[in-house]
């Protein structure tokens, strides 16, 4: 018996070299079968043809901090268009000397976002911090108090405007969307019909038509002599649009709740408001966090459409730089820079949503 065990241990054979380690991995993942081998070779050839020239264009031959004329003589990418116009692209027509204020506001926003992504902080203090933060941001941007020079909101622009439109759009659209979703589930016919009409109408039309409405028709809707700032009007359109989509997402969560929860709440004597606030919404909203985040991502991307009604958001300030004769013709570099900014924002959000989904599905 002992002998047998012993001999089998002796006879233990190591796997062949080609099946383990780097070679094994390459064989299993790149060259398993003739089709995959061919695909790998074609792809490698394609990458060899595209990546080095791109790398050369973007880094080796590129210029980073010169005038537009020097750019034209250089062979590669002209990143100078970004470095020379950095502050205009980020802050638009905000008075040059006062640009530390939007910078501070953005830093506050990022700090708040940073703390919000950790679920252990999701408590009352964070909510208060957000309220205080939004207030301070508004104060910094507008000025007029505590010796800060007032700045017209018509002068806000660039990345600042993009962030403002998204953050305020989402914070306002979320509660509205929840109310709409509740209305759609309501037993009261009239309210249900109104909510369905609203949601389906808004979801059926492109955002651009709402933005046109905000820029052309809103002024007509208001009584004589009253006028609302263009940015606010666009903001209203974005809120109305996003709310309809959030409503649909929340509805999914509400439908996911079993009847037992409603019945249990009723049987302990809670009224409608208490049922929703204490039992249904906390659970339903938790289920739909991942789709809500993806809704946030698309809302963030959609703010770029305000270019079309001539608001100076990130994309529009970039285009303004491009229309300057000195920098004309460097669209690729400028748009790549803007794309990187958007990508960073959206990618971190979608990564976060994936992480959250995993955490939530683990069940805690």
């Amino acid at each position: 018996m002992v002998n047998i065990v012993h001999s089998s241990r002796k006879a233990e054979i190591k796997p062949p070299v080609v099946d383990i380690g780097v070679i094994g991995w390459i064989k299993a993942n790149l060259f398993n079968g003739w089709l995959n081998s061919a695909l790998t070779l074609v792809t490698l050839y394609f990458l060899w043809k595209t990546v080095p020239p791109f790398f050369r264009w973007a880094f080796i031959d590129s210029v980073w901090n010169t005038t537009g004329q020097a750019c034209r003589d250089a062979g590669g990418a002209c990143w100078s268009i970004v470095s020379s116009n950095f502050r205009f692209i980020l802050f638009g027509f905000y008075p040059y000397d006062l640009q530390w204020r939007p910078l501070m506001a953005m830093i506050i926003l990022f700090v708040l976002l940073f703390f919000s992504q950790n679920r252990t902080y999701w408590k009352k203090p964070l909510a208060f911090a957000w309220i205080a933060g939004l207030f301070v941001m508004g104060l910094l941007l507008r000025g007029g108090l505590f010796g800060l020079d007032p700045v017209e909101s018509a002068q806000w622009g660039g990345l600042l405007l993009t962030l403002l439109l998204s953050v305020f759009g989402l914070t306002a659209a979320y509660p509205l969307g929840v109310i709409l979703a509740l209305g759609r589930q309501s037993k009261m016919r009239a309210i249900k019909t109104l909510c369905i009409l609203y949601i389906e109408l808004i979801r059926g039309v492109p955002l651009i038509s709402l933005l046109f409405m905000s820029s052309i028709i809103f002024p007509l809707l208001l009584p004589e002599g009253v006028s609302i700032n263009k940015i606010l009007r666009a903001q209203a359109a974005i809120i109305l649009f996003t709310a309809a989509y959030i409503a649909e997402v929340v509805r999914g969560g509400l439908q996911g709740m079993s009847r037992g929860h409603y019945e249990a709440a009723e049987s302990i004597g809670l009224n409608y408001y208490q049922t929703m606030r204490l039992i249904i919404l906390p659970q339903a909203l938790k289920i739909v966090i991942p789709p809500t985040v993806s809704q946030l991502i698309s809302a963030f991307k959609d703010t770029s459409l305000v270019v079309i009604i001539a608001l100076y958001d990130l994309l529009k300030t970039t285009q303004t730089v491009l229309s300057n004769p000195e920098w004309m013709g460097f669209s690729r570099e400028a748009y790549v820079f803007v794309a990187i900014l958007y990508f960073l924002g959206c990618f971190s959000m979608s990564n976060y949503s994936r992480k959250l989904e995993k955490e939530l599905s683990r069940g805690d």
């Binding site: 790998t40 792809t43 009261m188 009239a190 109408l201 208001l222 991307k301 459409l305 748009y335």
Partner: protein, 390 residues
């Protein structure tokens, strides 16, 4: 036991009466708001002396449209201009959807490939495209077109018969010939015959268990009938080559930079989403299904056709339709780069006539029509494919 008279519930505690009261209040508020807004609008319009109503549709438009599928000139009416725009939207969306579905399916399958390199590349493509606003992509492609490509005189000629320049792409196409119309008819006839043959083959299989090589026959019909018509019509092979005349290409099929930039942007953006949809659909069919089908003795094509596709499509089709609708809605961004789609024509109309309310209402109606059509299709499809459980 004493017979208790039910206590009279005060009306504010009776849920039914309360509900009626709430609804009444809400309707009143909405009605009042609507009345207020409409009366303001009418007042404002009157003050700016803009006539309301759709009378402007018959007036002469007096603006040119770069690309049109039907006859149009500046002397045509606004109504006709809007029809041109709507047709352009439909045309663009249709081509876009076809390419998007094909590209998206390929990318989705590539994402699941066992080849590490391919799967990584597909993942990068999906992430990058999904996370950059589609408008920015449109601007980017448009800029590439008019900044990077040479003028028509130095047009690039990558493949014989195709010219690339900053005025667009010119293709060589077969010269118009009456046979082409017959070929289209033959193609349609082929489709109808295939539908009938399929029905017959299915019935026969249910009756006798015999299989019919439906795929090969369909392919043969689809390709063979038009080819046969072409051959019988004298096999015309004359080509319509684009030629450089003055500063531009004449002849052939020329696609404008706006159209191509729009198509490229919309297709690349939407196909990333379609790829995710396709991937999710394929992954939703568990491996056990394939193994079970194989162990029943079905051959791989039949496993795909009879077991995997019907189940995967049930998951894929609804989100796929909504992506198609998204593409159609996003085509309204054409206004930003100057392709004459419906929104951009309507926008010009609004600027010229001042009929803002009517213009925006028309835009909304058109897109609402598309989305109602889509949701009608989805309801029909969902009903048709819901799992019938015992």
């Amino acid at each position: 036991m004493k017979n208790t008279v039910p206590e009279k519930v005060p009306f504010w505690l009776d849920p039914k009466k309360r509900a009626i009261f709430f609804q009444f209040i809400t309707l009143c508020l909405v009605g009042l708001l609507g009345y207020y807004l409409v009366s303001n609008t009418l007042h404002n319009l009157e003050k700016q002396s803009i006539a309301t109503g759709f009378g402007f549709i018959h007036k002469e438009s007096s603006f040119e449209i770069g690309e049109s599928l039907i006859d149009y000139s500046a002397a045509s009416s606004y109504g006709r201009a809007l029809i041109v725009g709507a047709l352009n939207t439909l045309y663009l969306s249709f081509i876009g959807i076809v390419i998007t579905v094909i590209l998206g399916t390929f990318t989705g399958v590539a994402r699941l490939s066992t080849n590490w390199l391919i799967s990584r590349l597909a993942a990068i493509y999906i992430e990058v495209m999904q996370n950059i606003p589609v408008l920015l992509q449109l601007f980017f492609w448009y800029a590439i077109f008019y900044e990077t490509l040479p003028s028509p005189r130095q047009a690039l000629n990558p493949v014989a018969g195709v010219f690339l320049c900053n005025r667009g792409v010119a293709f060589t196409v077969p010269k118009t010939h009456p046979v082409h119309a017959y070929m289209a008819v033959a193609f349609l006839a082929g489709c109808i015959i295939i539908y009938l043959v399929r029905r017959w083959a299915k019935k026969r299989q249910e009756r006798t268990g015999q299989l019919f090589p439906i795929f090969r026959v369909s392919m043969g019909l689809l390709l063979g009938l038009p080819l046969l018509t072409w051959w019988m019509g004298g096999a015309p092979t004359e080509l319509n080559m684009p030629k450089l005349v003055g500063f531009n290409f004449i002849g052939g099929l020329t696609l404008s930079p706006e159209f191509i930039a729009l198509l490229l942007g919309l297709v690349l953006y939407t196909s990333a989403f379609v790829a995710e949809v396709v991937r999710a659909g394929i992954q939703s069919v568990s491996k056990g299904q394939t193994e079970a089908a194989m162990s029943l003795g079905l051959r791989p094509p039949m496993v795909l056709n009879l077991v995997i596709l019907p189940q995967a499509l049930r998951v894929i089709i609804p989100p796929l339709t909504s992506q198609m609708l998204n593409l159609t809605k996003n085509s309204s961004l054409a206004v930003a780069i100057g392709f004459p789609d419906f929104v951009s024509v309507a926008n010009t109309t609004i600027n010229q006539t001042g009929q803002a309310v009517e213009g925006v209402v028309l835009i909304m109606l058109l897109y609402l029509f598309f989305s109602l059509l889509t949701s009608a299709f989805m309801n029909w499809y969902n009903k048709k494919t819901t799992l019938v459980e015992r």
